[in-house]
Protein backbone atom coordinates (compact mmCIF):
# COMPACT_ATOMS: atom_id res chain seq x y z
CA UNK A 1 0.00 0.00 0.00
CA UNK A 2 1.46 3.43 -0.93
CA UNK A 3 2.60 5.53 2.02
CA UNK A 4 0.21 8.32 1.07
CA UNK A 5 -2.72 5.90 1.05
CA UNK A 6 -1.78 4.72 4.55
CA UNK A 7 -1.57 8.35 5.58
CA UNK A 8 -5.03 9.02 4.10
CA UNK A 9 -6.51 6.05 6.00
CA UNK A 10 -5.03 7.34 9.27
CA UNK A 11 -6.20 10.91 8.67
CA UNK A 12 -9.69 9.84 7.59
CA UNK A 13 -10.04 7.76 10.78
CA UNK A 14 -8.74 10.60 12.97
CA UNK A 15 -11.08 13.13 11.38
CA UNK A 16 -14.07 10.79 11.68
CA UNK A 17 -13.38 10.15 15.38
CA UNK A 18 -12.59 13.74 16.37
CA UNK A 19 -15.46 15.18 14.31
CA UNK A 20 -17.84 12.66 15.88
CA UNK A 21 -16.73 13.69 19.36
CA UNK A 22 -16.96 17.37 18.40
CA UNK A 23 -20.52 16.94 17.05
CA UNK A 24 -21.54 15.03 20.19
CA UNK A 25 -20.15 17.77 22.46
CA UNK A 26 -21.69 20.61 20.45
CA UNK A 27 -25.02 18.76 20.47
CA UNK A 28 -25.09 18.74 24.27
CA UNK A 29 -24.47 22.48 24.58
CA UNK A 30 -27.49 24.44 25.84
CA UNK A 31 -27.37 26.96 23.01
CA UNK A 32 -26.34 26.91 19.40
CA UNK A 33 -23.63 29.48 20.09
CA UNK A 34 -20.21 28.26 18.95
CA UNK A 35 -18.23 27.23 22.03
CA UNK A 36 -14.64 28.35 21.58
CA UNK A 37 -13.18 25.78 24.03
CA UNK A 38 -14.83 22.93 22.11
CA UNK A 39 -13.56 24.27 18.78
CA UNK A 40 -10.05 24.73 20.15
CA UNK A 41 -10.19 21.29 21.75
CA UNK A 42 -11.19 19.75 18.42
CA UNK A 43 -8.38 21.49 16.54
CA UNK A 44 -5.74 20.62 19.16
CA UNK A 45 -6.88 16.97 19.36
CA UNK A 46 -6.86 16.73 15.58
CA UNK A 47 -3.37 18.20 15.36
CA UNK A 48 -1.91 15.97 18.11
CA UNK A 49 -3.50 12.76 16.78
CA UNK A 50 -2.39 13.64 13.24
CA UNK A 51 1.22 14.10 14.32
CA UNK A 52 1.27 10.82 16.28
CA UNK A 53 -0.53 9.00 13.47
CA UNK A 54 1.92 10.22 10.84
CA UNK A 55 4.90 9.37 13.06
CA UNK A 56 3.52 5.86 13.62
CA UNK A 57 3.18 5.05 9.92
CA UNK A 58 6.53 6.69 9.15
CA UNK A 59 8.23 4.48 11.76
CA UNK A 60 6.59 1.38 10.25
CA UNK A 61 7.74 2.23 6.71
CA UNK A 62 10.62 4.75 6.92
CA UNK A 63 11.80 4.26 3.33
CA UNK A 64 8.37 5.06 1.87
CA UNK A 65 7.97 8.01 4.26
CA UNK A 66 11.15 9.63 2.96
CA UNK A 67 10.37 9.02 -0.71
CA UNK A 68 9.29 12.01 -2.77
CA UNK A 69 5.85 11.99 -4.37
CA UNK A 70 5.90 10.51 -7.86
CA UNK A 71 3.65 11.33 -10.81
CA UNK A 72 0.84 9.02 -9.64
CA UNK A 73 0.94 10.45 -6.10
CA UNK A 74 0.70 13.97 -7.52
CA UNK A 75 -2.18 13.04 -9.83
CA UNK A 76 -4.11 11.38 -6.99
CA UNK A 77 -3.54 14.37 -4.70
CA UNK A 78 -4.57 16.88 -7.35
CA UNK A 79 -7.82 15.06 -8.24
CA UNK A 80 -8.79 14.46 -4.62
CA UNK A 81 -8.03 18.08 -3.68
CA UNK A 82 -9.95 19.41 -6.64
CA UNK A 83 -13.12 17.48 -5.77
CA UNK A 84 -12.76 18.27 -2.06
CA UNK A 85 -12.50 21.95 -2.99
CA UNK A 86 -15.82 21.71 -4.80
CA UNK A 87 -17.38 20.01 -1.75
CA UNK A 88 -16.09 22.82 0.45
CA UNK A 89 -17.45 25.47 -1.91
CA UNK A 90 -20.90 23.85 -1.97
CA UNK A 91 -20.88 23.56 1.82
CA UNK A 92 -19.94 27.21 2.29
CA UNK A 93 -22.61 28.34 -0.18
CA UNK A 94 -25.20 26.28 1.71
CA UNK A 95 -23.93 27.76 4.99
CA UNK A 96 -24.32 31.26 3.61
CA UNK A 97 -27.83 30.25 2.56
CA UNK A 98 -28.71 29.36 6.15
CA UNK A 99 -27.74 32.90 7.16
CA UNK A 100 -29.71 34.48 4.33
CA UNK A 101 -32.89 32.63 5.30
CA UNK A 102 -32.54 33.84 8.87
CA UNK A 103 -30.85 31.11 10.89
CA UNK A 104 -28.25 33.49 12.24
CA UNK A 105 -24.50 33.54 12.57
CA UNK A 106 -24.20 30.58 14.92
CA UNK A 107 -25.81 28.14 12.53
CA UNK A 108 -23.71 29.55 9.72
CA UNK A 109 -20.55 29.05 11.82
CA UNK A 110 -21.42 25.41 12.48
CA UNK A 111 -22.33 24.84 8.83
CA UNK A 112 -19.04 26.33 7.59
CA UNK A 113 -17.07 24.35 10.17
CA UNK A 114 -18.92 21.16 9.17
CA UNK A 115 -18.16 21.91 5.52
CA UNK A 116 -14.46 22.15 6.32
CA UNK A 117 -14.53 18.80 8.11
CA UNK A 118 -16.60 17.06 5.42
CA UNK A 119 -14.41 18.44 2.62
CA UNK A 120 -11.25 17.28 4.38
CA UNK A 121 -12.74 13.85 4.99
CA UNK A 122 -13.75 13.67 1.32
CA UNK A 123 -10.20 14.49 0.28
CA UNK A 124 -8.80 11.56 2.26
CA UNK A 125 -11.58 9.20 1.17
CA UNK A 126 -11.04 10.13 -2.49
CA UNK A 127 -7.28 9.71 -2.12
CA UNK A 128 -7.89 6.16 -0.92
CA UNK A 129 -10.40 5.57 -3.72
CA UNK A 130 -8.05 6.79 -6.47
CA UNK A 131 -5.14 4.75 -5.16
CA UNK A 132 -7.24 1.58 -5.01
CA UNK A 133 -9.40 1.96 -8.13
CA UNK A 134 -7.20 4.05 -10.39
CA UNK A 135 -6.84 7.74 -11.11
Amino acid sequence: MPFREKSAWVMAAIIAITAGLYAAMVGTLPSAVPALPVVIGFVVALAILSVFGQIAIAVLSPKDANAAADERDRQVTQRASSIAGTVLTCGVVLALGTYVIGHGGSVMFHAVFASLIVAQFCEYALTIWFYRRGV
Binding site: P2, D64, E71, R72, D73, G134, V135
Partner: protein, 71 residues
Protein backbone atom coordinates in the same frame (compact mmCIF):
# COMPACT_ATOMS: atom_id res chain seq x y z
CA UNK B 1 -16.04 1.92 -10.18
CA UNK B 2 -13.13 3.57 -11.96
CA UNK B 3 -12.93 3.01 -15.71
CA UNK B 4 -10.10 0.76 -16.83
CA UNK B 5 -7.56 2.77 -18.84
CA UNK B 6 -7.44 1.90 -22.57
CA UNK B 7 -3.65 1.61 -22.46
CA UNK B 8 -2.39 -1.94 -22.05
CA UNK B 9 1.14 -2.87 -21.14
CA UNK B 10 3.60 -5.73 -20.95
CA UNK B 11 5.69 -4.37 -18.10
CA UNK B 12 5.45 -7.55 -16.04
CA UNK B 13 6.39 -9.73 -19.03
CA UNK B 14 9.29 -7.40 -19.83
CA UNK B 15 10.57 -7.56 -16.26
CA UNK B 16 10.46 -11.34 -16.29
CA UNK B 17 12.11 -11.50 -19.72
CA UNK B 18 14.94 -9.29 -18.47
CA UNK B 19 16.10 -11.55 -15.70
CA UNK B 20 13.37 -10.88 -13.22
CA UNK B 21 13.98 -7.19 -12.63
CA UNK B 22 12.15 -6.29 -9.43
CA UNK B 23 9.34 -3.75 -9.35
CA UNK B 24 11.39 -1.68 -6.90
CA UNK B 25 14.46 -1.69 -9.19
CA UNK B 26 12.37 -0.65 -12.19
CA UNK B 27 10.65 2.04 -10.13
CA UNK B 28 13.99 3.42 -8.93
CA UNK B 29 15.34 3.41 -12.47
CA UNK B 30 12.48 5.44 -13.92
CA UNK B 31 11.74 7.63 -10.90
CA UNK B 32 8.47 6.25 -9.54
CA UNK B 33 7.57 4.17 -6.50
CA UNK B 34 7.22 0.38 -6.47
CA UNK B 35 3.50 0.86 -5.85
CA UNK B 36 3.18 2.84 -9.07
CA UNK B 37 4.86 0.02 -11.03
CA UNK B 38 2.38 -2.39 -9.42
CA UNK B 39 -0.52 -0.10 -10.41
CA UNK B 40 0.77 0.08 -14.00
CA UNK B 41 1.07 -3.72 -14.21
CA UNK B 42 -2.45 -4.15 -12.84
CA UNK B 43 -3.87 -1.62 -15.35
CA UNK B 44 -4.92 0.72 -12.55
CA UNK B 45 -2.69 3.55 -13.76
CA UNK B 46 -1.53 4.78 -17.16
CA UNK B 47 1.95 6.26 -16.84
CA UNK B 48 2.88 9.63 -18.26
CA UNK B 49 4.46 9.73 -21.69
CA UNK B 50 7.80 10.47 -20.07
CA UNK B 51 7.58 7.42 -17.78
CA UNK B 52 6.43 5.25 -20.67
CA UNK B 53 9.54 6.24 -22.63
CA UNK B 54 11.72 5.69 -19.58
CA UNK B 55 10.30 2.19 -19.10
CA UNK B 56 10.80 1.32 -22.77
CA UNK B 57 14.32 2.73 -22.67
CA UNK B 58 15.08 0.71 -19.54
CA UNK B 59 14.20 -2.48 -21.42
CA UNK B 60 15.96 -1.19 -24.58
CA UNK B 61 12.82 -1.56 -26.71
CA UNK B 62 10.36 0.81 -28.37
CA UNK B 63 7.40 2.26 -26.50
CA UNK B 64 4.95 0.26 -28.63
CA UNK B 65 6.72 -2.94 -27.62
CA UNK B 66 5.70 -2.27 -24.02
CA UNK B 67 2.49 -0.27 -24.33
CA UNK B 68 -0.55 -0.78 -26.53
CA UNK B 69 -3.91 0.88 -27.15
CA UNK B 70 -7.18 -0.97 -26.68
CA UNK B 71 -9.47 2.03 -26.76
Amino acid sequence: MAKKPPITNKVREMREAHGGVTQAALGDAIGVTRQTIIAIEQDRYSPSLESAFRIARFFKVGVEDVFGWEG
